[in-house]
Amino acid sequence: MDILWLIPTLPLLGFTILVLSSGRMPREKARVVGIGSIALSFMTTLYIATQYYAAASHGLDHGAGFTVSLWPWIVAGDLNLNFSLYLDGLSLSMLFVITGVGTLIHIYASGYMWDDPDYTRFFTYMNLFVAAMLMLVLADNLVLMFLGWEGVGLCSFLLIGFWYKDPENGFAARKAFVVTRAGDTAFAIGLFLLFRELGSLEIQEILHRATDEWEVGANMPTLIAILLLGGAVGKSAQLPLQTWLPDAMAGPTPVSALIHAATMVTAGVYLIARTHPVFLLSPTAMTLVASVGLITLLIAGFTALNQWDIKRVLAYSTMSQIGYMFLALGVEAWDSSIFHLMTHALFKALLFLTAGSIILALHHEQDIRKMGGLRKQLPVPFWCFLIGSACLIALPPTSGFWSKEPILLAAWEVDPVFWAGAVLGAFLTAIYTTRLMILVFFYTPEGGPPETHEPKGWQLHPPLIILAALSLVAGAFHLPAADALPHAHEHHPPLWVEVTGILLPLVGIFIGYQVFLKEKWQGLRLANQQALRDFLAKGWGFDWLYDALLVKPFLTLARLNRNDLVDLVPKGVVVASTQCYYFFSRGQNGQLRFYVATMAAAAIMIISLALFT
């Protein structure tokens, strides 16, 4: 178990090799290093998993974790943090997701990015990203998790702004970094509060002390839970801080697949799952988490309906699926939310990668209005996309069904409103997924399907196929996370609840089929309400709101005060002294009589002073 530290260091090693070579390394070597480090890390994860199960099988109680302490990190006064990694069921399952899906995406990316001039730089950032994500997941204390947390934010900035020639990407990258950084600050303040209240930042210690020092519903755990939620919301692009995710699609597609679908955006879910005892202590925070999830779920659903860029549709669908995970956390369905996280990572990565190969085939065309009828030209992407959408809609046999159903049932258990919202969300998902499927593959525009060139390179298709297979089979996996998290109590809602849960997506598919392929019921397409469509398309106007509320005032304030008002003080002193000089020099006008007059006046003043005081 003590080679646990090897998992984050391998990608870090890959990163350092690529950085030090700095451009002198040819593509083939860079590819080998890039993929090799992640693959090796995946192998070590498997080896660790075997050891974990071996230990778990003979008697060790499942939830207990292993800590590997490396060196004392920050030691000052009563703050005592050391660089130590912690492994338990939850982090092991996250390891599977990150390294597994990560390897597949890296293989795909090595083909996808082949003709890009900055090939080595791409893999440098990807390796750094995976290292930071692994550090986040394996961190034993919250500050080390914060290190991974910010490292991941930095890499998302670097990778979104990868094609730096176009300033738009640069703006999107900076927006992502600043918005997530706002969330991180909330997280940091939560840390400070935790340290002041509980005197330590080690995760296990905090969870023990929290449970026995605070009683349920006290306002301190609620405050800390809300602050931690603030951090999670920033990173997982949930309600208040979700505006950066759609713009993050400016990065290359493998990046969107790895970061903005499988790993980084789930960091928030991991944080809440990891610190669940604190959340359990405050019911208000739990309802808040659930409602944030629910509202984001619906907003993203509606917006996805009106998007024309294939990657933005997938981005909003990611946002809504993570909304499901937050909802699951909120209704204490801990293990099903992590399970949904895993399955979502698989099928969303699949969807993004297939979208990538479609874009590659159409010479970087991302607008679905210009696509259509690609069923024949791109068979493999077509079938993979089909499977991915099936999982997304949560049709019964696929893994999507096995992970989303328990969430709906748990939601019903806690509050029917949550359930109703979730089911509506599922219905919306069905509609926009079928819309996407039809517009891209089935519906043939007048001019016939656009010509495509089949992208060469063996790396593209195998990962798709593996992912497709996995997302079909994943429903049966039993994640080790289930042991680390408290077991959700059995759900036994009335039958009609389960049936609607399954039927509504089918109805959604049917409606999608009618509207988009058969072009009937056009009224439904909100064709005429252009204003409403624009409002929905722009993510319910949050972008505009934040712009007007924060960005514009800051810019005007900065422009107004470009050279520092305080600087005027010394300049003012200089001006004042020159003015005095001119005023008094007029007094010396050389006229004798003027001088005598001033003498007389002075005499008068002195005498009157002497007399009257």
């Binding site: 010396q588 009589r593 005598v596």
Partner: protein
């Protein structure tokens, strides 16, 4: 009118003459007139000394008057010398010519 009032009035007279002299100095641009007014001011000062001396019955007043007179004499001598120089230099004795020292 008692003697004391006389002394007081003498002082008032000295003050009046002094102020008249001062006005003369302030107004005139011709150096000679300035000197003349100066003489009057000195005279007024001398009067004040004499009046005080006689009020206290001591000779100090008159000695101070003597000093004032010598001062006046010396001052006039030098003043008139300067007037000549001024005249030779600027061909007029307007003291406003002398403003080379202005700021």
């Amino acid at each position: 009118m008692t003697d004391a009032v006389i002394i007081d009035h003498a002082f008032i007279l000295a003050a009046i003459l002094f102020c008249l002299g001062l006005t003369g100095v302030l107004v005139r641009r011709n150096l000679v007139f300035v000197l003349i007014s100066l003489e009057v001011m000195l005279n007024a000062a001398g009067l004040a000394f004499i009046a005080a001396g006689s009020a206290w019955g001591q000779a100090d007043g008159q000695i101070m008057f003597l000093a004032v007179v010598t001062l006046g004499a010396a001052e006039v001598a030098v003043g008139l010398g300067l007037t000549l120089l001024l005249f030779r230099r600027f061909n007029s004795i307007d003291i406003d010519q002398l403003n080379k020292l202005k700021g």
